[in-house]
Amino acid sequence: MTRATSALPRPLRLPGLRRRTLPRPGAALWRGNGALRWGVLLLASLLVASAVGMLVLGDPNEQQLADAFAPAGTAGHLAGADPLGRDVLAWCARGLWTSLTVSFAVATLGALIGTAVGVVAGYAGGIVDSVLMRLVDLSLALPPLLLFIAASVVVAPRPATLVVLLTFVAWIPYARLVRAHVLTERERPYIAAARLAGTPAWRICLRHLVPAASTAIIVLFTLQLGYVLLWESGLSFLGLGLQPPHVSLGYMIAQGRDYLASAWWITTIPGLVIVALMLSFNLIGDGLRDAFQLDVEEAVHER
């Protein structure tokens, strides 16, 4: 009896086939991927630490001038205090939150806009495509940081304006990546079949082309979180990004620059927080990239 069943034609057992052709998200991805696991774990613990810190440590902008330059390890200032007596640890907890929200907001907005533009450009071709590709050239010619600095002549840095400003640059790599995927994908027979069946163009884009590029988009998203984090904190460090009362890690690092010899903690500790956050983003990104076997950076040429 068992023999008879096993003699049945095998090709019908689709799950085995699907596992080989499509990377299945979820358990398998999680189990076989140390980088991804550690990255998610690190990111989660940073999130929790930030939330707890914001609840417990109070207002990061509160100045206790008597405690100015309190060294790391002092009671009440575990990570020390800055020249104005602000608690470095409270600042880090809030700054971590700022960095996370700005990074996710910019990368999400960029992904949405860039995917839309990339699909249209790749599928429609023609003038839209040429304009897009010249924009991409331009974005490579002008370093993002220089653009942001130049733009900060114009707009006052608040979290909302900062997100808009960074999104101006952040959508471009997605557009380029999605376009590249669409260019190869649209030549596949199943797209021709869909078109013959009378599927409208928008539906082909949404149901077939975007999903085909989705893994690449996700990998790029995780990589971009790190870039945005560096842009945000770098601008703030230069005094051109978020400034108090907005809380940014870059600002605190700049605060400590003049007191390196006497108060190392003001600069070192917020920097370590950024390194930890970057590490979690990069681990997740690298893990996903290895799992999906994609070299997104090459397709986009970012950084």
Binding site: L138, L142, P143, S152, V154, L230, L238, G250, G271
Partner: protein, 319 residues
């Protein structure tokens, strides 16, 4: 006529199309510059804020002098006319020529970028070679692990930490300023280390791709050891993509120099740009943007043509 001549010379055609793309990019960069000055609003107001005794007639005179009283399109036309003659007006702060200030600072930036690139590329090649020759073994894994960590270090923080270690704690090297080769060491490190992981990853990927090619198999069949295969045959074929990639990175490296120059008080264009932005000195900012875009375009043109000249296969493919 031109068309047919171009069709017969693939190299000329490639050069022509790259040149055309470069011109478009420059045009876009100038548009960005103009948008900046248009969006900044009236510098006459900013300049006279807090100036005691500036009456409205004086402000109007200044506005006319700066050309901000004209209609929008006239200003756009004027801007392009001047920009094409390499004239970005004068710096509000110094009164000197804006472009002149940028060009005076440019060699310092280029020196820094050149040193950092040389260091990053040579280190990247060595690390990639070690990594490929010992692939998936301890050396490879530790190189990749270390680079993953380096990739997470923000460039500005790295620069400050270098100062803390080498200048403040050990006292070996000067922290800021611009005197002698010794003051070049820390800025170079601060600029080179953050880009190193990307370079190594690219070079390693290139090498591994080359190692899959047929000629490598035949060299191996000849009886050459892994060391010779990599060092004598694979490396050379893995280099061209690195050239193009380096040229593409220059724009981003300039972004990196902005931060490094600010920290080390290096008298380059990045430092100039930040100071100019803080003083709302739009002319200088525009000149920095334009010069950066121009150097990017020129470098990429040269890199593309170099690679095409070195590799006949690229010349044959229509651009």
């Amino acid at each position: 006529m031109v068309r047919s001549a171009l069709a017969r010379h693939p190299f000329a055609r490639l050069a022509f199309s790259r040149l055309a793309q470069g011109v478009v990019v420059l045009f876009g960069a100038l548009l960005v510059c103009f948008a900046l000055s248009a969006a900044t609003g009236d510098p006459a107001d900013a300049l006279t804020v807090g100036q005691i005794g500036a009456d409205s007639a004086q402000i109007d005179a200044l506005r006319d002098h700066l050309g901000y009283g004209d209609p929008f399109l006239t200003r756009l036309g004027d801007f392009f006319a001047h920009a094409l003659q390499a004239d970005f007006g004068s710096s509000y702060r110094t009164g000197g020529d804006a472009l002149g200030a940028v060009l005076a600072a440019l060699p310092n930036t280029l020196l820094l970028v050149a040193c950092a690139l040389t260091l990053a590329i040579s280190l990247a090649i060595v690390l990639a070679l070690i990594s490929v020759m010992h692939r998936n073994r301890a050396a490879d894994r530790s190189i990749r692990g270390a680079l993953a960590l380096v990739q997470g270090v923000p460039d500005f923080w790295l620069a400050v930490m270098l100062v803390l270690l080498f200048s403040v704690t050990l006292g070996w090297l000067p922290a800021i300023g611009f005197d002698g080769p010794r003051s070049l060491i820390l800025p170079t490190l601060a600029l080179a280390i953050p880009v190193l992981p990307t370079f190594v990853r690219l070079m390693r990927g290139n090498l591994l791709d080359v190692m899959k090619l047929d000629f490598v198999t035949s060299v191996r069949a000849k009886g050459l050891g892994e060391r010779d295969v990599v060092l004598r045959h694979a490396v050379r074929n893995a280099l061209p993509p690195l050239i193009t990639f380096t040229a593409l990175q220059v724009g981003w490296l300039v972004g990196g120099t902005i931060i490094v120059e600010t920290i080390f008080a290096w008298p380059g264009i990045g430092n100039l740009a930040v100071d100019a932005v803080k003083a709302r000195d739009v002319g200088v900012v525009q000149a920095v943007v334009a010069v950066t875009a121009l150097s990017y375009v020129l470098l990429n043109l040269v890199a593309d043509l170099l690679v095409a000249a070195a590799d006949p296969r690229i010349r044959m493919v229509p651009a």
